[in-house]
C-alpha cells in the first residue's frame, strides 16, 4: 500500500533518513519505533508531503505522492502537538476541517465518545492540553480513510480517553484499515500493534511482529527488547 524507496533526507549535515526502504501492506496496525531523533516523524512527514526528501520515491496505492496533494484526501493524520488557532471555537474548527475535505464525516459520535459536548462552544485557546488532544483525535478519526497516521496519539490523555482511543483504533483495524503509530509508550505498542518497524540511524533496523522481536532479542518483555535494540546504538 505504501512504498518508500531509497529515501534520503538530511537537515544540514545531519542525515535523518539514509537510503531507507520500507513496504507497508494494507491492513493492520504498524508501530514505528526508534530512539529520539531516529527519523520517525520525518518519515511520516515525507509521506504527508510536509518534508521533501532529497532522493527517493514514495508511492501510496501505487501512485507517487511527491509534489502532489490530492492523495491526502485518502489519509488521516494526527499531528504530534495539537495547537490550533486560539480564537476559533471547537465547533468552528471541526466545521472548517470538514469544509476543507470533500468527504463524509461522523464527528457527532466521536464528540460524544470523548465527552466534548460542553467544550464545543469554547475557544481553542482556553482548552487544556488533554482536551486539545481529544479535539485532535476527533479531527483525525471523523473521516473514513484507508490510512490513519498517529504521531504520539497518547499525549496528555486521561485513562478513560486512552481506553476510548484504543477501542477506536481496534475498530478501525477491523474495518481493514492501515494504521501507523509512533509512540514511546511500550505497553501501548504491546497492546495494539501487529507489526513493529524499528528505525535506527535513518534505516529500518527491524521489521516484524512483536513476537519476532522478542525472539530475536531473547527478551520476553517488549520494553526491554526495544531497550536492547536502542542500547546497541549507544554502545
Amino acid at each position: 500500500m505504501i512504498e518508500f524507496k531509497n529515501l534520503h533526507k538530511s537537515f544540514g549535515k545531519l542525515v535523518v533518513l539514509n537510503d531507507l526502504d520500507l513496504n507497508i501492506n494494507e491492513g493492520g496496525i504498524f508501530a514505528i519505533l526508534g530512539p529520539n531523533g531516529s527519523g520517525k516523524t520525518t518519515l511520516i512527514k515525507c509521506l504527508l508531503g510536509m518534508v521533501i526528501p532529497h532522493k527517493g520515491k514514495i508511492t501510496y496505492n501505487n501512485k507517487s505522492v511527491l509534489g502532489k496533494w490530492d492523495y491526502r484526501n485518502d489519509l488521516n493524520y494526527l499531528p504530534q502537538i495539537a495547537n490550533f488557532p486560539p480564537n476559533l471555537t471547537v465547533k468552528e474548527l471541526i466545521e472548517m476541517v470538514k469544509n476543507l475535505r470533500p468527504k463524509q464525516s461522523n464527528e457527532e459520535d466521536l464528540i460524544k465518545l470523548f465527552g466534548l459536548d460542553d467544550s464545543l462552544q469554547k475557544k481553542l485557546g482556553n482548552l487544556s492540553g488533554g482536551t486539545k488532544q481529544k479535539v485532535n483525535i476527533v479531527l483525525t478519526f471523523m473521516f473514513d480513510s484507508d490510512l490513519i497516521i498517529l504521531d504520539e496519539p497518547t499525549n496528555g490523555l486521561d485513562p478513560i480517553a486512552l481506553i476510548h482511543l484504543k477501542e477506536l483504533i481496534q475498530k478501525e483495524k477491523t474495518k481493514g484499515k492501515t494504521i501507523l503509530i509512533t509512540t514511546h509508550i511500550m505497553s501501548f505498542v504491546n497492546e495494539v500493534a501487529d507489526e513493529i518497524v524499528f528505525l535506527l540511524d535513518g534505516k529500518i533496523y527491524f521489521k516484524g511482529t512483536v513476537d519476532e522481536l522478542k525472539k530475536q532479542t531473547n527478551n520476553d518483555n517488549l520494553e526491554h527488547a526495544i531497550a536492547n535494540l536502542i542500547a546497541k546504538q549507544y554502545a
Binding site: G49, P79, A82, P85, P86, N87, L139
Partner: protein, 260 residues
Amino acid sequence: MLKILKYSFYDLMRSRWSYVYFLFYLILGFVLLFLNNDVNKAVITLMNIIIVLTPLIGTIFGVMYYYNSREFTELLLAQPINRKKIFMGQYLGISISLTLSLVLGLGIPFVLYGLFKSAAIFNFGLLLVVGSFLNFIFVALSYNIALSTENKIKGFGYAILMWLFLAVIYDGIFLISLILFDEYPLDKFSLIATMLNPIDLSRILILLKLDISALLGYTGAVFRKFFGTNLGMLISMSILFLWVLIPILRMNLKLRKKDF
C-alpha cells in the same frame, strides 16, 4: 484558498489586537480632526504616521501570525490542499484584515467630519490606497522572512531590522549620499532611489499630491514633473504593485522546497 483566507480572516478579526489597531486609528482620526479642524492638514499629519506605522504593524502581524500558527499550518498541510494555497490564504487573510482596520478606523471619523463635501477626498483616498499597499507589501516581506527563518526570535529580529532599514536607515544613507555627491547631478539618482523603497515612494507620492511640493525646491520640481503626471502616477503604482508581487513570487518559490 478562499476557505483558508476566510478562516485566517475570522481568526484575526476576533483577536484583541485587530481591535486595538482599529481603535487606535479611530481615535487618531478623531483627535487629528478635532485638533486640526481641517481635513487637508489632518491628511498630512496622518501621512507621517501611516507611512511609518502601517509597515511596522504589517511586519509584526505577519511574523507573529506565521510563528503562532505554525502547528495549525501543519494540520492544514496534512489536508488535501495545495500548500501554496494555504500560505496565500493566510497572507491575504492578514493583509485584508489589517487593511480593513486601517480603512474603517480612519474612514469613519473622516466621513463623519464631512469628507465627501471636502476637496481633500482624493488625497485621503490616495492615503488609504498607499496605506493598503504598504500593508500588503510588508506582510509579504515579513512572511518571506518568517518562511526562511526557523528560529522565532531570529525571524522577529530580522523582520524588525527590515522595517528599521526601510523606514529609517535607508533615508539616512540616501541623505548622506546626497550630501557626499553634492557636485553631481542627482535628480535621476534620487528619483530611482526613491522608487526602490516602498516607504519613500509612498511618502513622495502623497506629498506631491498635497501641493506642498513647492517647499521641496529644485528636486521637488523634478519629482513633481515626474510624479505629478498621470504616467508618473501609473509607474509609481506599478512599482508598489511589484513590491507586492515579487515577495509573493519568492514566497511560492520558497514553499516548493520548504520542510515543515
